[in-house]
Amino acid sequence: MSGLPPRLRELRERAAARYGANPLQLLALIACFALAGYAAGRVFAAGIWIGFLIWFVGAAIFHDFVLFPLYALADVAIRSSSRHRRIPVAGRWPPWINYLRVPAGLSALLLLVWFPLILHGSQHEYRKAVGLDTTPYLGHWLLVTAVLFAGSAVTYALSVRAGAGRPPTPPRHLPKA
């Protein structure tokens, strides 16, 4: 084996240029679609393909066009309010945006995952299986949320105190030109 003959190599390069990537990538993708197609065939054979397809595509659409815009907009709202409420005189007030963002984000994450328990959505099946009520979960989530915000507030207060002794720092912006 002394490498590919020049004509074959040329053919491969032309094929790659036409395809747009290394032909190995095409092989890998064909393998991917073959396996995924086989599994999709099993879904079809199980007689659940309509619901499956709706949930599968719906999952991607829900994330990209509902969940992502929602939290991106929430973040824009937090950022703009943080910009408006900045206290310019003192200069020693550190930016508080992340002290709001982090507890709010973590609390929202916990709600996103556990909403069937927190909002009693699975109450009926839960009671049948576990023999108990889902009532305490709302309290648990509120408790965790309160602890997160309280912890954040305390951390912020400490950073304000630590900054009080220092000379005011200039407002932080990326240098413009």
């Binding site: 036409r18 395809y19 747009g20 990537a21 990538q25 890998a28 993708l29 393998a31 991917c32 679609f33 396996l35 995924a36 086989y38 599994a39 999709a40 099993r42 879904v43 054979a45 199980a46 659940i48 619901g51 499956f52 949930w55 599968f56 595509v57 999952a59 991607a60 829900f62 994330h63 990209d64 992502f68 950022r79 943080s82 930016p95 945006i97 992340n98 963002r101 982090v102 984000g105 973590l106 994450l109 916990l110 995952v113 556990w114 069937p116 328990l117 927190i118 959505g121 699975s122 099946e125 839960y126 049948k128 299986a129 576990v130 023999g131 979960y137 648990h140 965790v144 932080r172 912006h173």
Partner: protein
């Protein structure tokens, strides 16, 4: 502008159109300029997005999801679906190629693998969300497909993203008993996993060289050491991840990673307790099976109450008899069973939903019952419950499971009679078997010669 390019695109020679079919279908023309909004790169302004951040998150997912996928496939094997009655996805075809006789030792193996599957899955959710956030500009890349290669790769990404979210969503809803999906969880979660795995492996293979290259070139220490004031956008490149018009950072890159890690820690810390016994169980404030029932011997996790499974008090009273079928069928009362040699073992109940608990069970060995019914040598058993309906009212246990001296028909737990919700008058307990195979309210044991 592009009009003229289009018209001179043919090979120049005025060729006689032998057949008009070439031009009959108007080609769908994609404008060169992206439409306004998210299709324009300058729409995306986060100064933190870039190949470094995406590589770090991708690497965490590569390791984590690999473990979740393997433990998930093991969970299917743990059901011993090759035995009659046990396969909840009988149409699996070649996807069951790896199944094997699930062992009974170590007794805590399924507790560990399935606890890991569920808790690690929950822990990885914030990383998955952050990873999707980091690459979201690519969803709106323009033109939608640059080449055949690009089009095919994007099609595989639909399988990747759709599959990832589908698997996380169905899993997370199922462990909360929130059965809102219009399909059997077992089929959908298993076949969905294979679609996802196909796309995941290829995605990792295509992207790994770039991830390694990026982390080699930029290192990890630089960004982990940079405070907010020192945080700069990553240098412009061809990945389409770095914003051409970055906003002023409001969070450092390490701050973002800590935020994501904090989310993982919160989900982990508030749910891992449901897989641990003792006082730590109380820490599972947000997990379906972290509840405390009380201090009594029967006060541990219940899954499927007697009332929900239609167990009438009369069926479990003094009139209850265990039918043991084999070459010499026998019928035994509870007193008769208690008169047989009793053994006590501490064994876990480990559920497919991820929670588990170890208790001390006392009962009669399955091998003793088999011998009583005249079944000698390697025998399997079909266990039948009093419960009305439900996929697990009948299950098969393998010859290996029957033969383990710790496999019992349990009558007592922690020194007390079983409670009705824990399977009174008698339940199966098999080391390392999924909880649903530890059948409660047993009515009949049918010993059969090993089939395979």
């Amino acid at each position: 502008m592009s009009e003229s390019r289009e018209s001179t695109h043919d090979d120049g020679e005025p060729r006689q159109p032998s057949k008009a079919r070439r031009r009959r279908v108007p080609a769908i023309r994609i404008p060169d300029n992206p439409p306004p909004g998210p299709f324009r790169p300058e729409f995306w302004r986060s100064p933190l997005r870039g190949p470094w951040l995406t590589s770090v998150l991708g690497l965490v997912l590569l390791g984590g999801i690999t473990v979740v996928a393997i433990t998930g496939l093991l969970s299917y094997a743990a059901y011993n679906p090759w035995l009659p009655l046990n396969d909840l996805t009988p149409g699996k075809g070649l996807l069951g190629f790896y199944l094997f006789d699930w062992p009974t030792s170590p007794s805590w193996l399924y507790r560990l693998t399935q606890g890991t599957h569920v808790i690690l899955g929950l822990t990885l959710l914030p990383v998955l969300l952050a990873k999707l956030w980091s690459v979201i500009p690519k969803l709106f890349t323009w033109p939608p497909a640059r080449s055949l290669a690009h089009a095919l790769e994007r099609a595989s990404l639909l399988l990747l993203v759709g599959g990832a979210i589908f698997e996380f969503v169905t899993g997370i809803l199922n462990i909360q008993l929130f059965y809102v999906f219009p399909f059997s969880f077992y089929s959908a979660h298993l076949y969905g996993a294979w679609i996802f795995i196909a796309a995941f492996v290829v995605h990792a293979a295509i992207k790994l060289p770039r991830v390694v290259g990026t982390l080699r070139a930029r290192g990890v220490r630089h960004d982990l050491g940079a405070s907010l004031a020192e945080t700069r956008p990553e240098p412009p490149d061809d990945t389409g991840l770095v914003s051409p018009d970055p906003a002023t950072p409001t969070m450092s890159r390490r701050g973002l990673l800590a935020f994501v890690g904090g989310g993982s820690l919160a989900l982990f810390g508030l749910s891992v307790g449901q897989s641990i016994d003792g006082p730590l169980r109380r820490t599972a404030l947000l997990a379906p099976h972290g509840r405390i029932y009380g201090p009594g011997p029967n006060d541990f996790q219940v899954n499927k109450t007697a009332a929900a499974m239609g167990i009438a008090p009369a069926e479990t009273g003094d009139g209850w008899r265990l039918e043991v079928q084999g070459p010499r069928p026998v019928r035994l009362s509870r007193a008769g069973l208690l008169a047989m040699p009793l053994h006590t073992y501490a064994l876990p109940i480990a559920c497919v939903e991820g929670w588990s608990t170890q208790q001390e069970w006392t009962g009669v060995r399955l091998t003793d019952l088999a011998r009583l019914a005249g079944a000698a040598g390697a025998v399997e058993v079909v266990v039948r419950s009093l419960q009305k309906g439900g996929v697990f009212s009948r299950v098969s246990l393998s010859a290996q499971q029957v033969a383990d001296p710790r496999s019992m028909l349990a009558l007592r737990v922690n020194g007390a009679d079983l409670s009705l919700d824990h399977g009174y008058p008698a339940r199966i307990i098999v080391p390392n078997a999924p909880g649903v195979h530890c059948t409660k309210w047993v009515r009949r044991l049918e010993f059969l010669r090993e089939s395979a």
